[in-house]
């Protein structure tokens, strides 16, 4: 016999439509955000569920551009989970190993070299530095949004980003040279110039 869900249906309120739209629009990006920071899809889905549970409680406060707001909640959820379960292993290292290299070209040797160079360099950063870089490079936020997520000023974020970027660059350069050049930098509005 299938389980019967007898929990009462939440009563509608004036903010439900906004929450639903926010959920549908940003669920995938939030899941990607979580998967870049925890081990395994299941754990990431748990982070997303907890994040949207908080968002539901605060649905009267969902901002016009909710993504940085959601990321900020997710960061708190992650911090809480880290504290309570010590789930965090060496995420930077794991992610670096899982990093996809296929986007840089079809040469497997190049991809492998690139991935390994990145793995080593990224793992050598402080977690705070990795997070600054993740927000901009992987989560697609601009400086203003990323600063909101971290709860700091844009100026402070720019400084952190500059330092982390420089440190990563130096570590990459210090790694064993590869035969072919790195991908041509693609100008993005999120970078320090903004």
């Amino acid at each position: 016999m299938p389980p019967v869900d007898d929990s009462p249906e939440p009563a509608p309120d004036i903010y439900r439509g906004r929450f639903e739209s926010c959920f549908r629009a940003h669920h995938a990006r939030l899941l990607a955000f979580a998967m870049r920071r925890v081990s395994g899809r299941e754990a990431a889905e748990e982070v997303v569920a907890d994040t949207f549970a908080v968002a539901w409680r605060r649905r009267d406060r969902i901002p016009e551009s909710p993504l940085p707001w959601l990321y900020a909640i997710a960061s708190n959820v992650l911090a809480d989970q880290y504290r309570s379960t010590r789930r965090r292993r060496d995420l930077g290292l794991r992610l670096a190993h899982e990093a996809r290299a296929d986007a840089t070209g079809s040469d497997p040797a190049e991809s492998l070299a690139l991935r390994e160079a990145f793995s080593a360099a990224f793992a050598g950063l402080e977690e705070q530095e990795r997070e600054v870089l993740r927000l901009v490079a992987w989560d697609g936020l601009d400086v203003r949004e990323a600063a909101q997520v971290l709860g700091c000023s844009q100026g402070a974020f720019r400084v952190r980003l500059h330092r982390a970027r420089r440190k990563l660059t130096r570590r990459l350069d210090a790694a064993k040279p590869i035969d072919r050049e790195c991908p041509t930098p693609v100008p993005r509005p999120a970078e320090e110039a903004r």
Binding site: P10, A11, P12, D13, I14, Y15, G17, E20, S21, F23, R24, H27, A28, L31, A32, M35, R36, E45, A49, D50, F52, A53, W56, R58, D60, R61, I62, E64, S65, A72, S75, N76, V77, D80, A96, A99, R100, A101, A103, T104, L114, R115, F118, F122, L133, V136, A137, W138, V149, L150, R165, L168, D173, I178, E181, C182, P183, T184, P185, R188
Partner: protein, 425 residues
């Protein structure tokens, strides 16, 4: 060349991004998404579920943008967006305040319609589509200088949101040239989609007009602009076949004020139905001590359900808030508690839900915190629950022709100010 001069750490990181949100989105089915959403809501509803108390979400306080008036122009198609935006700037600074701040308009010689509705009608060419099957289903806005009536063809078996709908709109006469100029600009997007604009001069009911026929994407989109008559000019817009559109234009009739107003949809509340509508709005809403319905029933200014909803919900909320304020000043804890309880469920008051639905406040259209009128009531409820009802910063107002208008909404405005409550400090 060494890596030193070429390495870009961020570019490299982007190239090795381990997780693609796009791929996750494509891999997640609708039912899975719906289940996840319901689970999140259930978890959020559960008081036993621990939620991290991290407070960086406090930045939400700065999320509110400028006050904007929802509704007007919100459903216009892209070709008229420029005009809509131009008007929005004007509208934003002249907002008739909700609640009890408007003056009662005297009943004129037409006792069956709201005086303000008659004012709209008298300034309008009052065209009706009389072709069989067409009926006005919604008034997106209904004001003297601007309004949008949506018609639907009810005999269509494929009756749907976009099936055979037609908009009859009116705008300020002074905007006629601007609107025509903007309409003649074919956007790059339209060009890419095969848009081809054919302009012809014509007459509608003997009145000079210009018709644009847009063959966008192989379709057939018509807009006819009648030369201004008095304060406004009229636009008819529809995606119809040439023969159907011709039928519609030929069926247009200029009618009397009474007949025009009688064709308006239910949200344009007629006085005969006002008492019943008000009673329905109060259903499920706890009423403050001494609440009087009669002043609401006697008010003839409100034209549509939304405005009436503002008056009704605002009167109830102000009743509770003023009661709380008085009780707090006199130390009447029981009365203060009663007011807090009366307002506690405001976010679920049916009248507010109805207003949200009528204005299309759904999804991204629902204004963020601080931008939607219903949210001010919820915010005020939160304030008295927390034991402090702010009176400042207040809405900046101005008085024009004896009526009070909001001139500007300061950031973090006190909700009682927007609601128009008379709360003493």
């Amino acid at each position: 060349m060494t890596r030193d001069s070429r390495t870009d750490a961020l570019a490299l990181m982007r190239a090795v991004n381990p997780t693609s949100a796009e791929e996750l989105r494509e891999a997640t089915g609708e039912s899975e998404l719906a289940r996840a959403m319901e689970a999140a809501i259930a978890a959020g509803e559960s008081p036993a579920r621990p939620i991290p108390a991290g407070d960086r979400v406090a930045m939400e306080g700065g999320a509110g943008g400028a006050f904007r008036r929802p509704g007007l122009f919100s459903r216009r198609r892209a070709a008229s967006v420029g005009f809509g935006l131009a008007c929005a700037g004007v509208i934003a600074v002249l907002i008739v305040l909700g609640g009890g701040s408007v003056d009662t308009v005297k009943e004129g010689g037409r006792p069956t319609y709201a005086a303000a509705a008659v004012e709209v009608a008298e300034a309008n060419p009052r065209l009706l589509v009389t072709a069989p099957g067409w009926a006005i289903v919604h008034a997106h806005s209904f004001e003297v200088d601007s309004g949008i009536l949506e018609y639907r063809y009810r005999n269509d078996p494929a009756y749907g949101r976009d099936a055979n709908s037609l908009h009859l709109s009116w705008y300020p006469a002074r905007s006629y040239g601007t609107v025509l100029r903007e309409h003649r600009e074919v956007s790059p997007w339209q060009e890419r989609h095969g848009g081809r604009l054919v302009e012809t001069s014509t007459t509608v009911l003997g009145h000079p007009a210009i018709t644009f026929h847009d063959h966008l994407g192989g379709g057939s989109d018509y807009s006819t602009f009648l030369r201004p008559q008095g304060r406004v000019f009229v636009e008819i817009n529809a995606r119809l076949s040439p023969s159907d559109y011709s039928t519609v234009l030929r069926s247009l009739r200029a009618v009397s004020v009474d007949r025009w107003l009688s064709a308006m949809p239910p949200e344009v509340v007629q006085p005969a139905a006002r008492s019943e509508v008000i009673a329905g709005m109060l259903d499920g809403v706890p009423l403050p001590p001494g609440f009087q319905i009669a002043p609401l029933e006697a008010e003839t200014h409100f034209i549509d359900r939304y405005q009436l909803g503002q008056a009704v919900a605002g009167a109830v909320a102000c009743g509770w808030l003023e009661s709380w304020s008085a009780a707090t000043r006199s130390g009447d804890d029981a009365a203060a508690r009663q007011a807090v309880e009366g307002m506690a469920g405001a976010r679920r008051w049916p009248v507010l839900l109805q207003m949200v639905q009528e204005k299309g406040y759904e999804g991204d259209v629902l204004p963020a915190h601080g931008n939607g009128w219903p949210s001010y009531i919820v915010e005020a409820a939160g304030e008295i629950a927390a034991g402090r009802l702010r009176r400042h910063p207040a809405v900046r107002t101005t008085r024009i022709d004896g009526r009070v208008y909001g001139e500007g909404i300061p950031a973090n405005v006190a909700p009682v100010s927007v609601l128009g409550c008379h709360v003493r400090g």
